[in-house]
């Protein structure tokens, strides 16, 4: 089983990202999937987490996710207040929306960090700094778990008609920048392995 934890702030679409990724995996990429928000109230601007599980067999475990294999951070300022790395499984992968590498103080040893300037990309394509669909595309690209088409089809299913096309475009662009599952990322994308 693969477990993903999404970090964002209320209003940034982390819950929707978890759902789009799960739907893409379940309906368009042959996985079994489960997604859920951090249970409880959500407030605009407050830290929010959401979760996606993937497996090649039906997912029956209903407990919370404590040891994710992937962590996606939609807002790098969360690193100042939240231990976004908590419970990361050994060999885990972290994808952060940032134009630069974050300071290494609290980053656990051995963590593979990936950066995408998704805010810049979203401003360019969507003309608003909403990064959730870009980060879904980037995670698909960096992990190789899903093809781009699965992500864009899921976006068309989940988002309203007027928003789907541009969000599919930004997700596809992020997927390409993140290496299209090949491990060879593009220019707007950084990969680092802090000690």
């Amino acid at each position: 089983m693969l477990q993903i934890r999404w970090h964002g702030r209320g209003g940034q679409g982390a819950v929707t990202a978890a759902r789009i990724f799960g739907l893409a995996a379940a309906l368009y990429a042959g996985w079994y999937a489960q997604s859920f928000p951090s249970f409880g109230t959500e407030r605009r601007g407050a830290p929010v987490t959401a979760f996606t599980r993937l497996d090649d067999r039906p997912i029956r475990d209903r407990s919370q996710i404590y040891n994710p294999d992937y962590i996606v951070v939609l807002d790098a300022t969360l690193l100042e207040t939240t231990d976004v790395f908590a419970g990361l499984a050994p060999g885990g992968i972290v994808l952060i929306n940032s134009s630069r590498e974050v300071a290494g103080g609290r980053i656990p040893a051995g963590v593979r960090l990936h950066y995408l300037d998704a805010t810049h990309l979203a401003r360019e394509v969507l003309e608003v700094p909403i990064v959730n669909t870009a980060m879904v595309g980037a995670l698909a690209g960096v992990s190789g778990l899903l093809p781009a088409e699965a992500v864009t089809r899921a976006i068309a299913d989940v988002l309203p008609e007027g928003l789907a096309d541009k969000n599919a475009a930004v997700a596809r662009r992020a997927y390409e920048l993140a290496g299209e599952g090949t491990g060879k990322p593009g220019a707007a994308y950084h990969d680092s392995r802090p000690v």
Binding site: A26, L27, A33, Q34, F36, F39, I59, S63
Partner: protein
């Protein structure tokens, strides 16, 4: 059609497919997204129903009651405080034998205030005369709502049904759901045409006053109908399976119970996690099983006895507490087995956990099994008592979130 839905969306989908004609509800977390989705269906024309906006849950159920006695298929949904607020009307609906269906997205009761899952809300309505079915997955939530309309309106049952789904753990968790075709659902659930309905052309009265000479007969028939519902629930599950290819065992859903030394009994979505734990322990050679109780009322005494008779220890996990005694399900399982009056009746160890959204992890369930298996070993050596211990107010036993009651 293969879809990716959470439990609340699955319920709303079922209500659309069942062609409910009147929906009245008052919003409450974590139920609200059920009736929000239904309101969307009505607004976009994919569902032809009247949505009655009301000022409270009490009024919601009163409106549903009124609509149902005119012979329409109705639906409502609530949680926690909202269900508590309906308490008076629950008895009116069941006493008047109104076969309406209500989803209860289970949530703990205040105080302290909580929006998270446990079963205290529905368990507290145990004796209101409603059938209570607890589901494990979003798929089962959808399918059970369809079954519930059939069970409730069966002429020998005519009893309302609560379809209970764990708040958040099911209501807000998306997974793959097979959505049946409308045509198939129409075959399974023809239009609701009750024998008795309020009609100006044929006046009858619902909800009369009854003196001591009449009242007991009403209650007797109500009880008989609820007992009869045990067979109807099983029949409807079989009929559903024949049409849609999915069955949930009717009243109980046993998993690896044959020859098991320890069987864990519980209700709701925790069963999924428990299946993983049972598989893991079975791989290690431990004789353990799971019995998911699907129908809490009517209580399937015979089915429980036949599954649990050969076991040594029955562990019961309650997501509720009857304060000053123990978990309600534990009491009921003990009573059911006591009545069996057979030698070698298993010991029943009641655990209470998962209150107010407290997470039930695989290791918690493995801990319950381990504790009971140790008791079996002691019992095999002729030592007693087996599983024992009191409420762990000091954090002993399994801890403050999960205690042996």
């Amino acid at each position: 059609m293969r879809a990716y839905l959470n439990g609340n969306e699955a319920v709303a989908t079922a209500v659309r497919l069942a062609r409910a004609e009147v929906v009245a509800a008052y919003p409450i977390t974590p139920q609200s997204t059920i009736v929000e989705k239904i309101a969307e269906y009505i607004a976009d024309g994919s569902m032809a129903a009247d949505y009655i906006r009301v000022e409270s849950e009490h009024a919601a159920l009163a409106a549903c009651y009124g609509a149902a006695v005119t012979g329409t298929r109705v639906f409502t949904a609530t949680s926690s405080q909202g269900l508590a607020y309906m308490f008076e009307m629950l008895h009116y609906v069941s006493g008047c034998r109104v076969p309406l269906v209500m989803a209860v997205t289970n949530r703990g009761l205040a105080a302290p205030w909580t929006i998270w899952a446990d079963h205290q809300d529905a368990i507290a309505c145990r004796d209101t005369g409603w059938i209570q079915l607890y589901v494990e997955t979003a798929q089962e939530a959808l399918d059970t709502c369809l079954q519930a309309y059939k069970i409730a309106a069966h002429p020998e049952v005519l009893t309302p049904v609560m379809v209970c789904l764990d708040g958040y753990v099911l209501s807000h968790t998306e997974e793959i759901v097979d959505v049946p075709d409308q045509e198939a659902v129409d075959v399974f659930l023809p239009p609701y045409r009750p024998e008795y309905a309020v009609d100006p052309a044929r006046p009858i009265v619902f909800g009369i006053g009854a003196g001591p000479e009449l009242y007991p007969a009403f209650k007797h028939y109500q009880h008989q109908a609820m007992l009869r519902a045990r067979e109807i629930i099983e029949d409807v599950d079989r009929e559903f399976a024949a049409l849609f290819g999915r069955s949930y065992g009717g009243l109980v859903d046993p998993y690896y119970c044959d020859g098991a030394e320890v069987v864990l009994v519980l209700m709701g979505a925790t069963a999924g996690t428990a299946r993983e734990v049972v598989d893991d322990l079975r791989r290690r050679g431990e004789q353990v099983g799971l019995l998911r109780l699907r129908s809490f009322r009517p209580f399937p005494v015979a089915a429980l006895r036949s599954v649990l008779a050969g076991t040594k220890v029955v562990a019961v996990l309650d997501r509720d507490c009857s304060f000053g005694y123990e978990g309600v399900l534990a009491t009921e399982i003990k009573a059911a087995l006591q009545g069996a009056n057979v030698p070698g009746t298993p010991e029943v160890a009641g655990f209470t956990g998962g209150l107010g959204g407290s997470d039930i992890r695989p290791e918690d369930l493995a801990g319950i099994f381990r504790r009971c298996l140790e008791a079996v070993r002691r019992r095999d050596r002729g030592e007693s008592p087996a599983v024992s211990g009191g409420c762990s107010e000091n954090g002993k036993a399994e801890g403050i979130n999960l205690w042996l009651s």
